[in-house]
Symmetry: C2
Subunit: 111 residues, 2 copies
């Protein structure tokens, strides 16, 4: 259900380390070691963040031999973007409507 998917996606994005991993993965796929290397934490700690991202659906991974490669799953990223974008658009539309209403109710001399 989208409701719980969005819970997980936004919760996953609510952490700077996980956003840094997303930042790296939008450039292209990366192995777990490549993702963990620049992070100021142990490999197991980085792997926990990766697990949260995978559980949220924002990231997928595949193991070939001994190497696990991670990549962005764009579906969830788009859904999170759409949720926020639609609310921002609704807010703007209602602001425009209020503006039009205020214009219409102005006395003729002020128009």
């Amino acid at each position: 259900m989208l409701k719980y998917e969005l819970d997980k996606a936004f919760a996953a994005l609510a952490d700077p380390t996980r956003r840094a991993i997303v930042d790296r993965l939008v450039q292209g796929p990366a192995t777990v070691s490549e993702l963990a290397q620049p992070l100021p934490m142990s490999l197991p700690a980085a792997m926990l963040h990766l697990k949260v991202l995978e559980d949220s659906g924002l990231v997928t991974s595949e193991k070939v031999g001994r190497v696990r490669t991670c990549r962005i799953d764009p579906k969830m990223l788009s859904q999170a973007e759409q949720w926020v974008a639609q609310r921002r658009q609704m807010w703007e539309r209602n602001l425009d409507r209020l503006g039009a209403f205020l214009d219409d109710t102005k006395p003729e001399t002020e128009k």
Copy 2:
């Protein structure tokens, strides 16, 4: 700092009750009682969710007499939207670049 602001904004959006409050507020300002009324919880519980939204910068409120009115603060909504939109765009750009590279490396006969 934007990093911590985004932490709070995404954490605030990671809850269906808080997203329902945002859904209501993008239609226009509302009092605390109006926001709490449709929610399946007590007024104090609803007010805790409102506090998280206010702390995140997504919502502001103003008390006039005994009535507190809440409204969307569009700045933070836009920042959250932009963060996700930029990552989705970067991901697509890198996918396009990969596509172009694969096209270029195809033998002439397959083009």
